[in-house]
Each structure stands twice: as C-alpha cells, then as structure tokens.
Amino acid sequence: MGIIDRARVYSPWLYHLHCGGCNGCDIETLAALAPRFDAERFGIQLVASPRHADILVTTGCVPKQFIPMVKRVYEQVPEPKVVVAIGGCACGGSLFYEEEPENYAILGSPDLMIPVDVYVPGCAPKPEQIINGIVQGILKLAAKGSSRKRREV
C-alpha cells in the first residue's frame, strides 16, 4: 500500500448525488456532515465535483429521465471508488417503485444500473446511521486498494 492509498483512507472525499425522491435523506445527510454530528473527524469532506471524490453518496430513487446522469457521474469518479446508497428509496425503491404494474416515470433504486457497496436503509436514516454507513464505505475503500491497478474490462 503506497502513501497515496494510505492517505486516501484517512481523507476520503465525498460527492453527494440526489437522484430523486422526497429530499428527506438529503437533509439528514447534510446534518451528518455538519458540526453537530461531525463527519469530518473521519476526514470526510463534501466536494463539488465527482472528479475529486472517492465516495459517491446517492439518495433517492432514480427517475427514468435521470438514468444517463447517474451513469455519467459514476463514470467520472476515479478508481478506486465506493458507492453508498442512503435511504429506503436508494436501497429498494421504497414507496415510489412498483413491480406490477410498472411505474411509468421511475426506474427504482440506483443499484439496478451502478454497483452499490453499502446500503443504509431507513426512512429517513438518522445521521448516526449515515456516518456508520460511510465508515463502512471507508473500510471497503481500504480493501479495494491501489488506484494504479486498472479494472479489467
């Protein structure tokens, strides 16, 4: 493990992607990053561009119009990357997703198109639970290892 990989585990940067849904999980996520719950003690920082991020945090179910954007944002995050799905909508589709008959506007959870590493269910999850999920994500990020190894296509 090189010095860059070791540093990444101690300061993982986080990009927050809101796909759809009711906005409740976003409020809880921002509360988790704010000083009262203080996720920065793990070195987590919210960044404005997915190109700078190590962890992609998704909230909400994915509307069909939003599918290309989710794929594009996921591809823009450099390797190694971890995806954390927050909330019932991002985990299983929750209230908005139906199997039969199919919803005309909503595809369902983001794990139907991008690989999700950690699920944080709840409606909405408490900030403590979100921090717990992100810490699980950091552990997976450490296990994924070096950025120099390229994923075989």
């Binding site: 000083p35 019932g88 299983g92 590493d117 699920y119 269910p121 409606c123 999850p125 717990n132 699980q136």
Partner: protein
Amino acid sequence: MSVPAKILKQVLSRYSSPMTLKYPSGVDPSKKYSQIPEGLRGVPERDAEKCVGCRACFMVCSGRATRIIDLGDKRTVSIFLFRCTYCAHCQESCPEEALKMTSKFEFTIGEREDKGAYVDTDLEMLRCKSCNTAFLPKKMEKRVFERLQEKMNPLVKEVVLSDYKKLEGYCPECRRARSTNFDTHTKKWLWLEVK
C-alpha cells in the same frame, strides 16, 4: 421531568455553546445512544410464536415491504427492510400483537441478499382433505376456531359447532360443494317455511 424544569432547561440552553455529539454515547457519556428520544420507531420485530400468517400486515403495508410467499407446505411472511418506512401500520393492524417496532435504528448492509435485510417467519400450511391444496396456515385455523368460540351467540352455538366439525379440514371451494349437508344451510330453513 416537570414542565417548569423543561422550560428552564430550554431557556438555559440558549446560553450554552453549540456542541458536537460524541458518537455512540451522545449527550450523556456514560450511556450508549443517550441522544435518541423515547419511542423512536426502528426496525420491526416479529414474535414467531404469536404470528399466525393472517396477511393483515401485508394488506396495510404502505411501502409494499411485507410479502407473503406461499410455497407448498410453507408460508413465509417476510418484511424487506430496504423498503420499510417504519410507519408502524403493521403493528397497529396485527390482531395477535406479534409485530413490534423496536428502537434499533443503526444498521448497514453490504449486500442485497443478506439475511439481515429480511424479517422472516415460516409457517406450516394445512392441506385440504379432498383436493389436497395448501390453503391456510395450521396456526391460523386453530386461532380462528378459538376466536369463533369466544364471540359466538350462545343460541346458535351447538348448531354451528356441529357444522364446523363437518367442514373442518376442507378448503373454501370444497366447503361450498358440501354446503348442502350443513344444518345452517339456508335451504333447510326454506324447507321449514314451506311446510
């Protein structure tokens, strides 16, 4: 805590500085999760002995998280926690009070197929005497009979119970086919009026 003490605490909190909560302990460092309010709704828990598989929780589930899976002799009542919104409708509707919301809120899962994401109960099914299809959990059949006896009108009790013994173990379709043999069948009462 009394009301004046609560007000005093609120007023005093105005003059205290903002603080960061310690992670598992919260406000009170000696206790775990001391910042969690009482009555917080978390993961539902099912008492496997009390549950009879009556589908009441399935009918009211708002997030469609509860599923009933019938596979031959086994009925599985399961809650998929990824879709659960902790609305507690299932707790309200459960006639046997088998479901209870716990205050457990903190859990994360790595995979969708993980066992921790489901709250499952398996029940044995009863098979029909004549057509051999599984139609009702054994527990539910027993419990319905008990409830029937409690609430029955004493005037008709004897007739109904003797009829119940005749139809015991038949599925609804087969019961309908044999319904003319029953003492409570309307045909018999009509016959009396004609006489």
